[in-house]
């Protein structure tokens, strides 16, 4: 008997009670491993708010990757600090900057921010990691409120490289070889033109953060890698500049199955975009045609995080987008010719209505072969007519975990230590931190600590970790199908999934009891298909795209 009735603290479940899923244990190990990072949004005095600049409530991202090539996963955390308009006072030296924590053999971390060269001190927003210069080392792109930054990695050192002038407020970023020339290109979401000093009030006339609809939008940017990490902005030529909507999430994937990667962009309060790659190299928005622009009620929603996965086990990939309070998060189920909003039937509608979803991950938490869902939440507007003494904490909301049944239905469960603590959650990043074959989590908060959660769930099966690679780097956008005697399971490699995050570039499979692997198939981003023999269970394997 694994379940008990347990009242959810902080409210998030419309029915008022959740089942505690004792099989799932997410244990916070932040302090014991030595991670000491607190996000500074630039408008806090203690927990009290000093003004309501919109950038301060949007939070920042994080990345899990092996920064120094020692085989251990490292943690890179994006920091904000003083708002750009206050920076002349702070001075560059006094800025907190991003932090790189290198994992040591004993599992603790060492702060290598300065020595690595990755202490970017812009007002940080998001991050993407990929090998853009083909030297086998990961490189790092940081999106900022202000100039973005590209850092080329070599051994343990990162050097800031030239990068085109970017939008005033960049958000999500995705590396992806969209033009098929074997190097990684880059899509960067553009959000808004910030207006320092702009003051907004809620419908009740109380000061609060501005709605994104109160500020001018900026366009997204598409950068083509001209080789060696030299990027050129090709947004106008490729058609991306045709739209201006406030982007917060982006996924690169071949949605139309033509061998050309497309981009799906979640927009904040405006219809989402699905940029379909055309034969002539331009992109056209087909989100309305394919049913991924708006929810099933025909309403555009406040898109934040976005993930791709196959929760219903029908071997095609569905989209899940997180949204604002009073909107459901939305599961766009792939039905072949397009997508349908299947959120209510999946059991994901009502639990999301009271909360504002941001970071999100499709992951098999207990290695039982079914995709589960983890979410972090946090409001962007205060409830009206209540005391304002709570400061930032008035925006806090609990995280959520949903267990999937592999057929497209989810049940929300309480996970002690993870879903019972209201915070202003933003990014959620997945990776196998301790190399034990399950996925661990990192979460970030506005004005709060980054938290590292070790997955100590009851193992309901074994695992397989696949690292698809091409040209000496992870093959972003590859789709791996694992065949077993119980059926096939499909998982994509999209480290950019979620909100402002860069997940460990691996494909993780849980292997339910009794499952025997019979083979692996890979659909590579350029449309090439390969088959591979069954590996041993509980292993990590690397598969290479044939040249």
């Amino acid at each position: 008997m694994l379940v008990l009735v347990f009242p959810l603290l902080g409210g998030g479940n419309a029915a008022g009670a959740l089942q505690v899923e004792h099989a799932i244990r997410l244990v916070e190990i932040t302090g014991e491993r030595g991670v000491r990072f607190v996000h500074d949004p630039g408008n806090l005095s203690g927990r009290a708010l000093e003004g309501f600049p919109l950038p301060a409530i949007m939070g920042a991202g994080a990345a899990l990757f092996d920064a120094n090539g020692d085989g251990r996963l490292d943690l890179y955390l994006i920091q904000a600090g003083p708002l750009p308009e206050h920076r002349s006072v702070a001075g560059v030296d006094g800025l907190p900057g991003n932090r790189l924590y290198l994992q040591q053999p004993d599992g603790t971390v060492r702060d290598a921010s300065e020595a690595s060269g990755l202490r970017d001190s812009g007002y940080g927003v998001g991050v993407a990691v990929g090998d853009v210069d083909g030297d086998g080392d990961p490189d790092v792109f940081v999106s900022n409120l202000g100039p973005d930054a590209l850092y080329l990695g070599e051994a343990e050192r990162f050097t800031r490289a030239a990068f085109p002038e970017t939008a005033s407020w960049s958000t999500a970023a995705a590396f992806c070889d969209f033009d098929g020339d074997s190097d990684l290109d880059l899509y960067v979401g553009g959000y808004l033109v910030p207006e320092p000093g702009k003051e907004c009030v809620s419908a009740s006339g109380e000061p609060d953060f501005c709605s994104p609809q109160s500020l001018p939008y900026v366009r997204d940017s598409l950068y083509e890698n001209r080789g060696g990490g030299n990027f050129e902005d090709v947004s106008i030529r490729r058609g991306i500049a045709a739209l201006r909507r406030p982007a917060l999430g982006v996924i690169c994937h071949d949605f139309t199955g033509d061998g050309r990667p497309d981009f799906y962009v979640a927009n904040d309060g405006e219809p989402n975009v699905l940029w379909e790659a055309q034969p002539d190299g331009t992109f056209e928005d087909v989100a309305l045609l394919l049913g991924t622009a708006m929810n099933g009620q025909g309403r555009p929603e406040a898109g934040m995080g976005v993930v791709l996965g196959d929760p219903d086990g029908d071997l095609d990939l569905d989209l899940f987008v997180t949204h604002l309070r009073a909107q459901t998060n939305t599961l766009y189920r792939n039905v072949g010719a397009g997508f349908v909003d299947d959120t209510p039937a999946a059991g994901l509608a009502l639990p999301s209505l009271p909360l504002t979803g941001f970071g999100v991950g499709f992951l098999d938490i207990e290695n039982d072969g079914d995709l589960d869902l983890a979410l972090v939440n946090g409001a962007v507007a205060m409830e009206g007519g209540i005391s304002r003494t709570g400061g930032l904490d008035a925006y806090a909301e609990p995280a959520q975990v949903f267990t999937g049944d592999g057929a497209g239905s989810f049940v929300e469960v309480a996970v002690n230590g993870f879903t019972d603590r209201p915070v202003v959650g933003r990014a959620l990043v997945t990776g196998d931190w301790d190399r034990d074959g399950d996925l661990d989590l990192v979460t970030t908060e506005v004005g709060g600590p980054a938290r590292l959660f070790e997955n100590r769930s009851v193992r309901l099966g074994g695992y397989l970790i696949v690292k698809p690679r091409e040209e000496g780097r992870p093959s972003f956008g590859a789709v791996v199908t694992l065949e077993t005697n119980l059926g096939a399971v499909v998982r994509p490699l999209n480290p950019e999934a979620g909100y402002l995050a860069s997940n460990e570039p691996i494909v993780h499979f849980g292997l339910p009891e009794g499952a025997q692997m019979t083979g692996i198939r890979v659909l590579w981003p350029d449309g090439t298909r390969t088959s591979h023999p069954a590996p041993l269970p509980d292993t990590r394997i690397t598969l290479h795209r044939p040249r």
Binding site: L288, L289, M294, G298, G385
Partner: protein, 426 residues
């Protein structure tokens, strides 16, 4: 139905009788909002047993986004109404709206109470259907939308929602006629149009889907055309329709009418760079240069790649003699639309006036290549070639300009003749 039964039905935690007012902290509110709420609250205190006073208080709170206390007020109103009365209907319906996200069970119960007494109220059927759909009860939702259509045949929202249910059930062929009917009733509803396009896609006819979207023109921005939004909006005209009318007036040369329509449109869509750019172009054509520059400046602030705004600003600066300013905007215009002959021609003009003749000539050649029928670019080319002393080519450009119906200024021709005789036509 007794009041206490209704209270139970509505899930109220409060007992009947005099209830405390819902707690609302007004300390951080704007003074006028706080005053308004205080006045309505005072009115309620004077008539604490009057359901209409509770309803008015609830609506005032609701209108200011204070949903939780508004729900409390609606519950109190419901407790005090005669079952079956119009007030009971309003209280139940508004309560369902207020709590649909936080307490969906209570919302459903409230609506079901309303519908038992007022089965002819179509909006309640529609909201009931939406609530059922959110719980995954698609069959129940479809039945509710069908009930709304029985009450109000042809109700676009009910048609739209029922069409969506058919789509979700995997029956695009059943959905299409419903969505077509909804769109016929609400041709500006981008959400309906996009759902119809999606239905065509799911039916395997992507070409038809694309055509459906294209027929909507700017309804490709469906956020503005959300039918729910329109139902709740006091505006009686949709912005795409206004835009179409403004463009029509502009095309027909009725600039005053166009100006007034763009002015109205810019109020509705103040952050729409396309609207601002077109508005600026109309003002420019009317000779209202200051106003035009402001609108066009707003447009490029919103969309630095706006071709129309850049071109119009470039021409405006060109006329004003601000040649570097003109060049700046016209270069941005040619970058945004490298295939625009007009932009290259204007850029050539700006460069020629700055005596940067070689650059000007290159821009004008590009203009002529892009727009072979453009005689004006040839006139300017002739001037540039004459500046360079390439008189034969200048005369050739003059001939090409004349062949295209362009007028070549007589003083220029006289100056050219003074340097080089005009070649004979033969």
């Amino acid at each position: 139905m007794s009041a206490s039964v209704l209270a139970n039905l509505l899930g109220s935690a409060l007992a009947a009788g005099q209830a405390p007012l819902p707690a609302v902290d007004r300390s951080a509110m704007e003074p006028q909002v706080a005053r308004l709420l205080a006045d309505v609250e005072a009115g309620l205190r004077d008539r604490i047993e009057a359901p209409e006073a509770w309803l008015a208080y609830g609506e005032t709170l609701h209108a200011h986004g204070l949903v939780r206390p508004a729900a409390t007020a609606y519950r109190e109103a419901a407790l005090r109404t005669e079952p079956g009365s119009q007030l009971a209907l309003s209280a139940g319906y508004l309560l369902a709206h207020a709590v649909r996200g936080s307490a969906p069970g209570e919302a459903r119960a409230a609506l079901e109470g309303v519908l038992r007494r007022h089965p002819g109220y179509a909006p309640a059927h529609v909201l009931h259907g939406e609530l059922l759909e959110e719980t995954g009860d698609r069959a129940g939702a479809a039945a509710a939308f069908e009930a709304a259509l029985l009450v109000t045949p042809g109700a676009p929202l009910a048609l739209f929602r029922l069409g969506q249910m058919r789509l979700l059930a995997g029956n695009p062929d059943d959905a299409i006629p419903l969505l077509e009917q909804a769109l016929a009733a609400e041709p500006d509803a981008g959400a309906v149009r996009s759902e119809l396009a999606r239905a065509w896609t799911l039916a395997g006819d992507r070409e038809r889907a694309g055509a459906t979207l294209a027929e909507g023109g700017d309804a490709g921005l469906p956020g503005i055309e959300d039918p729910i939004h329109f139902r709740m909006s006091s505006r009686d005209v949709s912005s795409p329709r206004l835009l179409a009318r403004a463009r029509e007036a502009r095309t027909e040369g009725d600039l005053e009418t166009a100006r007034s329509r763009y002015a109205e449109l810019s109020e509705i869509r103040p952050r729409d760079a396309v609207v601002l750019a077109e508005y600026g172009a109309v003002l420019d054509a009317l000779g209202q240069f200051g106003a035009a520059e402001r609108r066009l400046g707003d447009a490029v602030a919103l969309d630095p790649d706006s071709f129309l705004a850049r071109l119009a600003l470039g021409l405006l600066h060109l006329r004003a003699g601000d040649l570097p300013g003109a060049e700046f905007h016209l270069r941005r215009a040619t970058a945004a639309r490298p295939d625009s002959g007009a932009a290259h021609r204007a850029l050539g003009d700006a460069l020629l006036r700055q005596r940067r003749v070689d650059e000007a000539l290159a821009a004008l050649k590009e203009a002529s290549r892009l727009d072979p029928a453009d005689g004006s670019a040839r006139v300017l080319s002739a001037a540039a070639l004459a500046e360079l002393g390439r008189f034969g080519e200048a005369w050739e450009a003059v001939r090409e300009a004349r062949d295209r119906g362009a007028t070549v200024p007589e003083p220029f021709l006289a100056a050219l003749r003074a340097r080089s005789p005009e070649p004979s036509r033969s």
